[in-house]
Subunit: 560 residues, 2 copies
């Protein structure tokens, strides 16, 4: 037996540190044994429980924000506490940047920062923020349990009871994951809540997992990120949506899926009760969803098209509607929805037939990116859902058929069958401001150089994408047997962009003959008939009507 | 606006059904308002709350088992309740099969069934069990939130209080995931517990999420699945382990990782404080783990080699040791460990540099499988961890280097850099009983035909594997620029198997020259010195000594 001399002997550093901080923080609780801290004492509380160099998970989700705690964190004494390492899903609020501007935090590991993308890029170039890594949500959650475990979690809930039990309600989102990672590594957990109540509607987080409660007297900030006004859907969106429904969903029998946000997917959702129904597809496609509660799903739900929806987060205004549709949404014993970003990302990765997203730019190989020079926006959840998970082992008709059609698989694993998830990109050949979507060089390369990234921030790689849909047609990229053929198929539907003009008409014709490229005509879709009159709802108001008044859109979406 | 005439009007079928069942089940609780049911009434309770055709999640984890509830489920009246659809992680106990033999269940969706693999195959061939699909753990959990949501969850915990709050302790495993999926779709949750207590050590599952408690007066069955006796490690295991440490971990700088179970990985763990330490690798490799609490990790922990371990489940006998090493393991406010299979699988998928596993058979393309004709064993978690997740976007030195070396990536995505996770297979050229590990045709094909699977049950596909390690050497498969070169590299280390004898010595020499194949000699490892004297512990007893008596191995592993 090898000597045991060089052994480590101290095994409770984290626990001792926790006890010390808890003790220091408790001077700010109202009465002995309580966890409740007056909001006016929150800044000194944070100064007591956070140490320089700590990893801090400040709950900034896709939707809800621990905004009060973020403001307080900006106001702690940077002389006393600095060099924090922020490990948080989203950099969304100005205060999230202030923490860096004021020298309190030095490094950020995150997933998404679109609302602050220009400022993040500026802070990086000025040396005020170092970026650890940019993740998708689920991989950041994974690292919470490996090498980015938070020392302190600053979270938000709707209400708490005196024992610290939390009700997070429809916007449960990341909270359980952050708290579990922090609390079970002896971290400090501070929750801002609207109020303290005697009895919670339900318990989402057990009280012992929470150390301090700050009742701030108002709801936390939440953003209606997934609401799209149907009035802004164009005839082109309708055309592309019809192609997806008829040329892909119906063909492959797509039962379970995730939709990104965008007017193309919004159009698909609003065509389900009309165009899809007229094709006899009810019960055959789009029955099971991993998706945020998009208001544009309401008509399809009301028509009985949709059986089940599990969500990453909630959506402002949808709470009452969801509570009244408990057969469809994940609703707790108390009657309100519970989301869970981690488990919904798992489901969107592993358990669905198809992902549909959009992008700003695509190169000749099919690599796509939403990166823009001068903006560091992150990835969110798209790369996790917009890929074929190699660990998947269960089959579905869609998965088997897509696998069979994948012409490059044999080059990788020999003559062995395996299935494949559908990954669909809906891209107009020219985006906002007539900027071409198909380019020779992705802006991701420029951003990589500017920001000092080690690889360009590609949202989805070309080998992940099975279908590219533009207003020109569908390119069945999975059917291409080489990178060269994929390139030709992309060009064939890239319209009048520089890339599209490189398409060889003879080759395009041959690709159509082989079924690799399909135009609307090939799909039997009449372009003249592809217009917004087919949408089940053409305004927010009509969505409200479909919901029987249960959907309550935020004011900014009300035109009445 | 499209007509809303054809709308669905009934939205509370699941809730009404839940209320009805709850009401019927409550006739078996001891007193009004209580959730506690006498174990003697458990069979009629299950008959009251389960309906024919239900999806039932019977908690059968990798380690702990809701064995009492499984026994009771076998004894319900099959005339009254039948055709159940079991959706459970593991088919492990004889009772799990009895449920099918007795005609109570008809179909199974599961992940792993090795302990009952022969019986499962027999039941399938006799038509007593239909297999829905076989999954990895994480994808089954994903489907719990999409199309396989349980109507009834039969789970197990250590203890409960009168409100139904549960303490699941170190073996928390799948429980939170099963309960969340079932309860938030208005399912019924029944928990067997050892006992009801006034105050739980901590709350792992909130009480409102649990409908009925059955205190059975004894712990549930748990299996020490991850204990390997160091005495059974051979010199060949040591040789292969040295190659992995020196030729892969040190080369790529592997900081975070997962190990499968097997004597090869066990040897690596026991060489960390000796061989790896002598190479100056402490602090440079293997600091962060997603792994079950293998007893063979104890010496590396005691030497300070390991910073952090997050676990899928627990391991019998390790409880006290873990509780005394709170800086390393994930320990709750009560002082005991909490595992979480879902989050650990997420971390193992997305957040680590390397996975090391083993297999029974590999074909010329690198596809590997543990499938054996006549046995349906499932996948467990290996395919989820043993793959390069395409959604990963954060980098690490290991990931960047492996990506750079991946010679086939350009064929897939053009000249664009991306990283790669290391997936290492340790395989002796001949397995138990001198059966060759390298074969022309995987038994998975035969099993596919026998069992009527749609694709062969491949554990890992050849394009996932970066390194193959046999006693002959390391084949750096990621460095191969074609399927043909990969085949040559596999043959070069396949020894005297049929496949190995096809190796062309000249080609092998060229592969060695290019660094695609490395022999122990190429790595500077003296075969004569590769023996078990280097292991930090050579018996279970020595592991106990390393732990200062805190590790308490089950009787079957005690030779003293």
């Amino acid at each position: 037996m090898v000597s045991m001399a060089a052994g480590r002997t101290d095994w409770t550093r984290r626990r001792n540190e926790f006890e010390k901080r808890l003790c220091e923080g408790r001077q700010f609780v109202g009465e002995p044994g309580s966890k409740i801290v007056d909001p006016l004492d929150c800044v000194p509380l944070l100064e007591a429980v956070i140490r320089s160099g700590d990893r801090v998970a400040l709950e900034g989700n896709n939707q809800k924000q621990a905004d009060f705690l973020a403001d307080c964190l900006c106001n702690i004494d940077a002389e006393r506490v600095n060099n924090l390492h922020m490990v948080q899903s989203v950099i969304a609020l100005p205060s999230h940047c202030e923490i860096f501007e004021r020298g309190i935090a030095g490094i950020a590991d995150f997933s998404y920062s679109s609302p602050q993308s220009a400022r993040v890029a500026k802070m990086v170039s000025e040396g005020k923020m170092r970026i650890g890594e940019i993740h998708t949500y689920l991989e950041l959650f994974g690292r919470y349990f490996v090498d980015l475990t938070p020392d302190v979690a600053l979270i938000t809930a709707i209400s708490a009871d005196r024992d610290g039990n939390l009700y997070t309600g429809p916007n449960t989102e990341d909270t359980p994951t952050i708290v579990e990672a922090a609390k079970f590594r002896q971290g400090i957990v501070v929750a801002q809540v609207e109020k303290i109540v005697d009895k919670l509607p339900r318990v989402d987080i057990p009280g012992e997992w929470v150390d301090f409660l700050v009742p701030v007297g108002r709801p936390c900030y939440t953003e209606p990120l997934f609401t799209r006004d149907p009035a802004l859907i164009t005839d082109v969106h309708v055309l592309m949506a019809m192609m997806v429904i008829k040329g892909i969903y119906a063909e492959y029998g797509v039962k379970s899926l995730n939709h990104g946000i965008g007017f193309g997917t919004c159009a698909i959702e609003l065509l389900l009760p009309t165009f899809a129904e007229s094709l006899g597809l009810k019960g055959k496609i789009c029955s099971h969803w991993t998706v945020n509660p998009h208001p544009s799903l309401i008509p399809a739900i009301e028509c009985g098209f949709i059986e089940s929806i599990h969500s990453f987060g909630s959506e402002v205004g949808m709470e009452e509607y969801m509570a009244n549709r408990p057969d469809v949404f994940f609703i707790g014993p108390d009657g309100t929805m519970r989301s869970n970003r981690a488990m919904c990302q798992v489901a969107g990765h592993y358990a669905v037939d198809a992902f549909v997203g959009s992008t700003l730019q695509m190169d000749r190989y099919g690599n796509s990116s939403t990166a823009v020079a001068g903006r560091i926006a992150g990835f969110g959840g798209a790369p996790n859902m917009g890929c074929d998970p190699p660990g998947r082992r269960h089959s579905s008709p869609s998965w088997l058929r897509a696998g069979k059609e994948s012409a490059m698989t044999q080059d990788l694993i020999g003559p062995v069958p395996r299935g494949r998830k559908l990954v669909i990109q809906m891209v107009e050949t020219f985006g906002a401001g007539r900027v071409p979507s198909f380019v020779h060089r992705l802006d991701a390369w420029t951003l990589m150089e500017e920001a000092g990234f080690k690889v360009p921030p590609i949202m989805m790689y070309g080998d992940a994408i099975t279908h590219l849909v533009t207003e020109e047609g569908i390119a069945h990229l999975l059917r291409c047997d080489s990178l060269e053929q994929r390139e030709a198929a992309i060009k064939a539907v890239a319209g009048y962009t520089d890339l599209g003009r490189e398409a060889d008409p003879k080759e395009t014709l041959e690709l159509r003959r082989q079924g690799i490229v399909q135009t609307p005509q090939d799909l039997g879709i009449d372009i003249g008939d592809a217009n917004t009159s087919h949408l089940a709802a053409r305004s927010i108001r009509e969505l409200v009507e479909w919901s029987g008044g249960l959907y309550r859109p935020p004011d900014r979406f009300r035109e009445w």
